[in-house]
Symmetry: D2
Subunit: 318 residues, 4 copies
């Protein structure tokens, strides 16, 4: 039974790592283990083939294979969003249809390099949405640091108006707090349909983003259970407690969010936590050295002590 994303989607959608064996082959056994790990952490959704999923280093065939495997394992327990961004619309469409047919909950689409003006951005997304058709729920990803595509508030609102199946917006423009507020208020100020807004930016600004009205978080932080707790406390009106907890993890979260290199840090953390067998990132990919490992030891050790001091439960594997 497929769970689709919708305007009502909320909570923590974790960006799933793509596990490889040490020689770079897809490790589907670890994929199974990782799915269970994420679900035990309490996440409300999964996103596969995001930037952190090393999607461009997989062939289309591998993208399909990996996603179908994950979908089968998840088996409808939470919605699964598939990152389908691709330089060509034909491949984008193929990946979307194939995975939606097998139970994906929606597709996430970012802009492609070369889109500059509002008109170009809008035209592109409308063309993609038309191709996919109204049956396929879309999450619009606004991630300029990687895509170099900037999407104005006006364009987002127009796309929401023109594409009824645009259900979710992934916010990671940066600095983007004001944009988030404007988008969140657009239903009141502009009569725009309300969609789900999840925030990315590696989670660096979660408390501020929740306070500004985000419906949840979509990021690949390797302790997603913390984000789940922060989200829940925030929902229960305990914003300060939520932020206290968040701040305890902030040093390690800040460490993990290093652009590019963060992938190695996150995969290694997942490995240490027992969620995947190898921290391998496909070539060309970042690799940790001994100094990096010692640094991580130190940061994780500090986190453990702080959590104990504050009387919090320790996450698995810490």
């Amino acid at each position: 039974m497929t769970k689709l994303i919708s305007e009502e989607s909320k909570g923590v959608f974790v960006i799933m790592a793509t596990p490889f064996t040490d020689d770079g082959a897809l490790d589907l056994q670890s994929a199974d283990r990782l799915v269970e790990f994420y679900l035990e952490e309490g996440v409300h959704g999964l996103t596969v083939l995001g930037v952190m999923g090393e999607s461009p280093k997989l062939s289309l065939e591998e993208q399909v294979k990996f996603t179908l495997h994950v979908l089968k394992r998840v088996d409808g327990r939470v919605p699964v969003v598939v990152g389908v961004s691709n330089p060509g619309m034909d491949n984008l469409e193929t990946l979307s249809r194939t995975t939606m047919d097998q139970g994906a909950g929606g597709v996430m689409i970012a802009g492609i390099p070369g889109l500059k003006t509002d008109e170009q951005v809008e035209t592109y997304f409308k063309a993609v949405a038309d191709r996919l058709g109204e049956e396929i729920p879309i999450c619009l990803q606004d991630y300029p640091p990687t895509t170099t595509v900037f999407i104005s508030v006006g364009v987002v609102n127009r796309l929401i108006a023109e594409i009824p199946h645009l259900r979710m917006f992934k916010h990671e423009d940066c600095p983007g707090h004001r944009k988030l507020t404007r988008l969140r208020q657009a239903p009141e100020t502009d009569g725009t349909r309300r969609v789900s807004i999840l925030t990315g930016n590696n989670g660096l600004y979660v408390p501020q983003e929740l306070a500004r009205g985000a419906d949840g978080i979509m990021t690949g932080f390797a302790f997603p259970g913390m984000l789940v707790d922060v989200y829940s406390q925030f929902q229960s009106g305990k914003a300060e407690e939520a932020e206290d907890l968040f701040d305890l993890y902030l040093p390690i979260l800040r460490h993990e969010q290093q652009f590019g290199f963060g992938l190695a840090l996150r995969k290694e953390t997942l490995r240490r936590r027992g969620a995947i067998a190898s921290a391998k990132a496909r070539d060309p990919g970042p690799r940790m050295d001994a100094r990096d490992h010692a640094e991580m030891d130190g940061l994780l050790g500090r986190l453990r002590r702080k959590l104990v001091d504050a009387g919090h439960r320790l996450p698995s594997g810490l």
Copy 2:
């Protein structure tokens, strides 16, 4: 008697080189000579402190000094446009007011790096225009290869509507033929006020741009007299003859338009033509070596022969 730019401005506005002595000081004597050279070539206007004028390598004080010197020399014979783009609006305003007070014909303004969405671009130019006030005619420069600012047709049209003193548009988006056509037709299709459109792009597409309705050319090609002749013939309905002439110069024009290095080639050509004393570009700037000189010799020799074969007059210094 100041000549201002206006919606009716037409013809060839040459981007003036900024002459330096061999040790990099402003060479105002050469500036005088260069002004006379350009006027003898028949240009309809001058633009100082453009990209080719090495403006960012001059201090604000030098920019003012150089411009006032040129204005005095030109003495109202043709309109002089002043490139006033600056990271800060205060300096932009200072340069604009000081030079307009002394007879400049208008100011040219490009976007500054960091402007991404239509809203950001529009907001910036409106803020600048408000600062300057309606007395100062503006030429909006659309030059994404250097500025990384992309200005959509919609934004241009809105700016024309909102800024009554926006009188001229310098087109050098690339590829930009279709954009030029849309902008040219905007008075009919959108009711936009008609402004003067001059094209840049180093002149590489002049015949196509005139055919699509451009009012003239604004570029730093070192044989501006050719562009004047092409423009005149085109105006007289002799489009094919105009293009024949243009094509004779195309090999050298294509050579000169090499990004960055073209500055050295143009200054050397101007030096060879007797218009300036030194080809020096301020540091850090491009410099020709012996091989480059030989290459230029070859290309200029070929141009001479082709012109003679076709029965054309030789430009001075060739």
Copy 3:
């Protein structure tokens, strides 16, 4: 019988368009026709899956399928270079091995975005070359405008020294004349092994590049026969005649080299010349409008007249 590229490779390697049907499917019938068309034009080699071949819009499976089809058709008549650049090394290796096994003459590899310093660039290419092994001849593509990877003369020379199977260098840094000269002279000045140097940059500077010692041209200009003639005349010591011929085509060549949009112009020219059935570029791709067609009519008409006037044979389909 496979023809491999080598340090001795010379002449015109045309970048082959990838023909699609009007709905975007691979058109293998047109691929056959196009191969014959190029061979009739006299090219010395073919390059498939280059930037102009819309490679990123094909899935890996399609890339393999298309290349194997072309290889079968060419059947060893000329060497075929395969563009294998890919965000992931695994896919790069798969495409390389699969096509080399079936008769490809070598692989062309450009840098991937994110490589900045000399050390990063060198490390990347060495890792790729090690993966492929000495059996696979490599053409190193230096194309910063698209890749944003800048390869210094020092890095090229070190890569030539360290990778014995690096056989060919595709030069399209721009402005790049001086770099070409330095690379060409490196065997004398630095004792670097001499490799084949073909130049790209859409052919805009062919006469200057041949004069500076390039071994040939690798570009997708839709009249490759002209480049073959220019190359041959230059080889026979008739440099001025070669340049005369080149200059006749320069207006249309300059028109075609518009970044991005040029793809539409070239495919349409190939269609008009009878080489492919449809000018379709895969989405998202450029499309000509009526005004663009009229403009092309004008430019091709002018070319025809100039060729007739000069007593040259007309290329097929003109």
Copy 4:
């Protein structure tokens, strides 16, 4: 009595904001107050005209005026580094000489856009250093996010070897931990002369950077006293206590480091702390709205509570 920067420089060099009145004029009275504020916070040095100093929005004349004013106020109490980066070397030299003559402690120089390969980067910095001469101590700024210039470890080491007056390196490549380690170890591994290494990156990674051997921090964080304390504790062997203190400020430090917008946040914090009269950033510059102010209230309130809970002294104005 001038304090020059040297290979032995250590501690916290704060990047000084440039105070303006509400209408954008230089506010020299606030400059005086701000100097005293920084010195009371215990900083070991000042850096004027950095990116955070809005240097490009000042004219050369204003840059000189502001710097001389600050130098007079500081009066040799700590070394003052002057950011002299400029598109033109002539202006760079003028600003350097004028301010060094009046007591500056050294100049900081970043690369200029357009420098790509190691050779280009090295050539540029050597040319600048030659211009300035051995009397002027140089801090080499490695700040790719803003400059788009990437400086490899090899280039840094070569520049240290070739420029005896290169005394300090400002590290803010990111992710850059490994680079920092390699540079710090270069005296042992490569025999490179040891220079002072201060780290930037808005201070986001201070504990990790000190652990990897940085000599200090150069950033514009609006609570520089915390950085001074962290640095001192680290020096006294209390690394964990230092990091505990740092982590208390991390939420606000992370908030302040938002690219571009951080300038508004820092100036407002300095205003609230009584260090400057107006938070004005010159146009075009970021501005806080009511929501941004409320957000800052919340973050500062949390900081106050955490500091009190931990028994730390409250910084002035909190």
